[in-house]
């Protein structure tokens, strides 16, 4: 490969523009060719000023907790153990298979693929079964126009699908609330930063009732600081059992 081609490949890799065959070529070169890695590094440096222009968005504490538990589950790679002492006796076939790393890798891989296929199949049917909403609420705006549809599913998931042009003021979010106890305070079931379908968390909410009230309020970007609605309620509606 000419150096110009390699350099273009390196730059487009950094831009994330490579597709298909070229993407494969770049991945192979990254793994095997130190000159190519150096070209990539130079392009990363050139564009790195862009990364510094990103807004700082403080993550919630739950993100660190998830990272910590993943790190606990998958401990840091330990240094490779020293090579085993050379064997003197000639091993038998079974024994050599037993110590043959690639045999066990393949064996493990086949097992893993089978498990994945099984899991995917089970997931497929589980998804099919839970696709049907249990309850639906159409949330109406102040002007009595449908603003969003909220569906809840048998597996505890819920989805909010905005309708029409739901606008969220700059640097704000909308927060979805429900009233498990009609006389009690609302409970937050999700904070939404952009007008698109979102999953909501109903874990903290007891069994939904028909007629349960849902409401959406405008809140700061990371949600209400007080745990109760602080901004105006922009839409609301009650749940009813899906047909």
């Amino acid at each position: 490969m000419r150096r110009d081609d390699a350099d273009r490949l390196a730059a487009e890799h950094v831009l994330g523009l490579l597709e298909g065959e070229e993407r494969g070529v770049a991945d192979r070169l990254l793994a095997s060719d130190s000159e190519f890695r150096a070209l990539v590094e130079v392009w990363r440096q050139r564009f790195s000023a862009w990364d510094e222009t990103a807004a700082e968005i403080p993550p919630g504490e739950s993100l660190w907790q998830r990272i910590e538990s993943s790190v606990n589950a998958a401990p840091a790679a330990v240094p490779a153990p020293a090579a085993p002492a050379p064997r003197t006796a000639t091993p038998g076939l079974l024994e050599s298979l037993w110590v043959n790393l690639s045999f066990w890798r393949t064996f493990g891989l086949v097992g893993a693929v089978a498990t994945l296929l099984l899991a995917a199949g089970m997931g497929f049917f589980a998804v099919k079964a839970s696709r049907q909403p249990v309850m639906i609420a159409v949330l109406l705006t102040d002007a009595n126009q449908p603003g969003a549809v909220l569906s809840t599913y048998s597996d505890g998931r819920a989805e909010l699908v905005p309708l029409g042009d739901m606008t969220i003021p700059h640097n704000h979010s909308v927060q979805v609330w429900t009233f498990p106890d009609p006389a009690g305070p609302p409970v937050s079931v999700g904070v939404v930063q952009a007008a698109r379908t979102v999953r909501l968390k109903l874990d903290n909410v007891p069994q939904l009732r028909s007629d349960q009230l849902f409401a959406v309020s405008i809140e700061p970007l990371s949600g209400s600081p007080t745990g109760l609605p602080t901004g105006p309620v922009v839409m609301k509606g009650t749940a009813s059992t899906a047909l």
């Binding site: 050139r46 000023a49 862009w50 990364d51 993100l63 905005p162 969220i168 698109r196």
Partner: protein
């Protein structure tokens, strides 16, 4: 002078040291990196993925990889921060390009997407005047500058750039290639 620029990122040597500590199994060092870098990383991931949950997933996966690969980081081959963001961008672009395709299609896409996206000229203003990137991007024609910017910042593919800029795919590809040659000459 630095104070005027707001939050100043910790020097690279701190990150290098923290990565070295991670390689030895020091969890606190990982947390140190997380505390100093995660807000910016989430911002970068949000520009690519637009959805908070996906962006947090990318940052999560990045830190797990940082933990696992810290020992393979070689300060002689590049800067710690650039290594960190390379992992993040790879992860976010993989989520954007492959894994979440179906997920994104199921979504209610038509609303809010374009308005959330800062256009290339607004993004240019955020670049430091002193930096070479800004100076060299300014030499490009606006539409070519826009193509490069949208690709890097928002992760648009060649096809998406062609659609957004209203030009044929081949034109976008040659714009990008020529712009890269010009940037290389200007920034070397």
């Amino acid at each position: 002078m630095k104070a005027v620029l707001g939050d100043v990122a910790p020097p690279a040597s701190d990150l290098n040291r923290a990565l070295g500590q991670c390689a030895k199994g020091d969890r606190l060092a990982l947390r140190t990196i997380y505390d100093s870098e995660s807000p910016r990383m989430l911002g970068v991931a949000m520009r690519l993925l637009r959805r908070r949950a996906l962006a947090e997933e990318a940052v999560h996966d990045t830190f797990v990889q940082v933990w696992q690969k810290a020992a393979s980081f070689d300060p002689g081959r590049g800067e710690a921060r650039s290594w960190l963001y390379a992992i993040l961008r790879n992860r976010a672009l993989n989520i954007l390009r492959g894994e979440s395709r179906t997920d994104l299609v199921e979504d209610f896409e038509p609303m809010g997407l374009v308005s959330e996206e800062e256009d290339a000229e607004a993004l240019m203003l955020r670049l430091s005047d002193k930096g070479r990137l800004k100076r060299c991007l300014e030499r490009l024609e606006p539409s070519r500058r826009q193509a490069i910017t949208l690709a890097y910042i928002h992760g648009l593919s060649h096809g998406e750039l062609a659609g957004r800029l209203g030009v044929p795919l081949g034109t976008v590809k040659s714009w990008i290639r020529r712009s890269l040659v010009s940037l290389r000459e200007c920034m070397t």
